[in-house]
Symmetry: C2
Subunit: 356 residues, 2 copies
DNA sequence: TCTACGATTTGGATCAATCCAAAAACAAAC
DNA sequence: GTTTGTTTTTGGATTGATCCAAATCGTAGA
């Protein structure tokens, strides 16, 4: 009756712990812990009895407490620089799918290509003791960041872009080869003046594309070379096309840094009254879903963002399991998805239903 | 010299703890803890001395340990059903921006519209003791899920879609009003046969749009009513246009569930040899970045995903601070972004530079 | 000089799990 | 009936912070 003696299970309802389960099942804390972690040590009978108690008491595993004593948190940090870009959306979906299978969850941050924001997030991840980090480094990231992360003892997998040179863990697409494929195709179609559109200098993914561009031209013995740097947005593609087309000689084909630039280029050509695919071939990179549904449908170098995400996540899990193993580079091969914008097909409006 | 006496600070390098800082600064653990949490209790001198020690020893705050004793983890769970959709990308960016300011980080999961996947993730979030959850419920989610979350004592903010009826916390856009705006505009242009394209029955966001559609027709005294259900993809928009146009009388304008459906509809019209905006007006919903850059540029009901994300995150933080406060609905007003696809402008190719 | 009172500081208990070495239970062999 | 050898099970220490009631320090007032 006394109001100043709080009953042990009063309203604040202390949550059910291992201890409670242990008491209920008539075993020790340790045994319950072993059951939860599916240890083969416990006898079958005991295991079942404990599991019944777990269910009966509505126990909820406390991963925070487990992480404090154990070493793993079963969490990962993921940093991208533009989550609103559907390319990264697909990549994150791939990461999510791979992690989900292993019981991992991930913190996501959007760096907006700001090294400062990126840094803040990484420090926060360290405080949260994530088991690993997937990093698409922001433009202008200090190359020593990788060493810093190593000194923090947190495995880091770079994705799509990388800073510095190997050895480090990396998952991405072979952009060099992708651009090569596109140019091979254009040359086979008879093109001799092929321009490349878009990209900044700051990171590896641009350099690889440009390298692929120059190598392919050299391979085919083409003299014409025109590389325009720019943002990697629709707007930039749109704005640069008039510049390019006013030159003489003008290119007959344009390979673009990504599909966004390519969409802009298509629009730019139409604006000039030219028919993309007939008057000038356009090839994008990424093969976003909307590439197939453009007008004309866009030929694109498919870079498989979902698969890249999955590979990156798997690589992270491998590295967490074996921190001292040799660094790995997982580089997927791109595929050229030929559609109308490069003039290979008749330049008709393609049904989206037939192009999956 | 003896090799079997491990030095206390040998290779495994036990991490620096509050205790170490306390020893170094000549104060107690508790005082260091107060400094870390910026308590006004500690004297200015002490505070500075402790902070010097923190820097000197390279201390890293252990949020896991803090969360075990304290009650907050400074983490949030975010569930969306299609992260590859740029709309959700923008929304997640908004969430990220708002949380970042408050030192919170978020777990992200992609339910792929599967209630089972969603459920698994929510359970994992519970084990991780997140402070709150932002949920875009998957199609077919059991309405009792909200009660379950409440019984788990985890604040849940529904975003964009909701299951069941208020009271609950919710952040979204006024879809009903948005569709109303679109139809007002079309009616002002002289349209009398306006169709609505896309959406399933399962969730609130579709019902609201349809309600807006019917109400607006009634308000203007229009007899013609045609509502086609479908997936909310480009493909569906493309496929339904021929069906709609073959009817007699055919509509002169189409309002679409989202921009993806609208893009499909534009393509479908072109496929039929009709000029979108002249032969049939098309209005989308969301106002994605690519809407301005289509051909023709798409008129769209802007639903401001970034702002919705920010509002949702802010609401979550408010609810965490005050779990027993009255539930809140934050409903943003949409805006009609008029471009060429509804025939209001001359149907010329619009420069993307002028339409931000 | 002593007492009060506010401003600081402190140590022990606590949060909920895992680790680990040792104990207990059981079975087979001598 | 021991002895030996596996399986299982266990309790105490540990992880790194916060909470909280009590101790300490200063200093103004009696």
């Amino acid at each position: 009756m006394s109001q100043d003696t709080p009953r042990p299970d009063s309203r604040a309802s202390r949550s059910v712990t291992l201890q409670d389960i242990a008491a209920h099942a008539g075993v020790s804390r340790s045994t319950v812990s072993l059951v939860l972690r599916e240890s083969p040590l416990v006898a079958e009978d005991t295991r079942r009895r404990v599991q019944r108690s777990i269910k009966a008491l509505g126990y909820v595993y406390n991963r925070g407490a487990a992480a404090l004593r154990g070493r793993r948190t079963a969490t990962l940090g993921v940093v991208v620089y533009d989550i609103a870009n559907p390319f990264f959306g697909a990549m994150v979906a791939g990461i999510d799918a791979a992690l989900n299978r292993e019981g991992y969850v991930s913190f996501l941050a959007n760096s907006e290509d700001s090294p400062a924001r990126q840094q803040r997030f990484l420090e926060r991840m360290r405080e949260h003791r994530v088991d690993g980090i997937l990093l698409c480094p922001a433009q202008g990231t200090d190359p020593r960041l990788i060493d810093t992360l190593a000194s923090w003892q947190i495995p880091c997998i770079q994705v799509l872009r990388h800073i510095g040179e190997p050895p480090f863990d990396y998952a991405g697409t072979d952009f060099r080869r992708g651009v090569g494929l596109a140019i091979d195709h254009l040359v086979a179609q008879g093109h001799e003046r092929i321009a490349f559109l878009g990209g900044h200098i700051e990171h590896s993914a641009t350099r690889e594309r440009w390298q692929g561009y120059r190598e392919a031209l050299a391979r085919h013995g083409l003299a014409y070379q025109r590389l325009l740097r720019s943002d990697v947005t629709r707007r930039a593609g749109f704005a640069l096309i008039p510049v390019l087309m006013a030159e003489s000689p003008a290119p007959t084909a344009v390979v673009c840094h990504n599909d966004l630039v390519a969409f802009g280029a298509l629009l730019g050509l139409k604006r000039l009254g030219r028919v993309p695919g007939r008057d000038c071939a356009v090839i994008g990179t990424d093969d976003l879903e909307e590439a197939a549904l453009g007008d004309p449908a866009l030929t694109s170098i498919a870079t498989h963002p979902h698969a890249v995400g999955e590979e990156a996540a798997r690589l992270a899990l491998r590295r967490i399991g074996n921190p001292d193993g040799a660094r790995e580079l997982v580089v997927l091969s791109p595929r050229l998805q030929v559609r109308d914008s490069c003039g290979a097909h008749a330049s008709t409006l393609e049904s989206p239903v037939t192009t999956t």
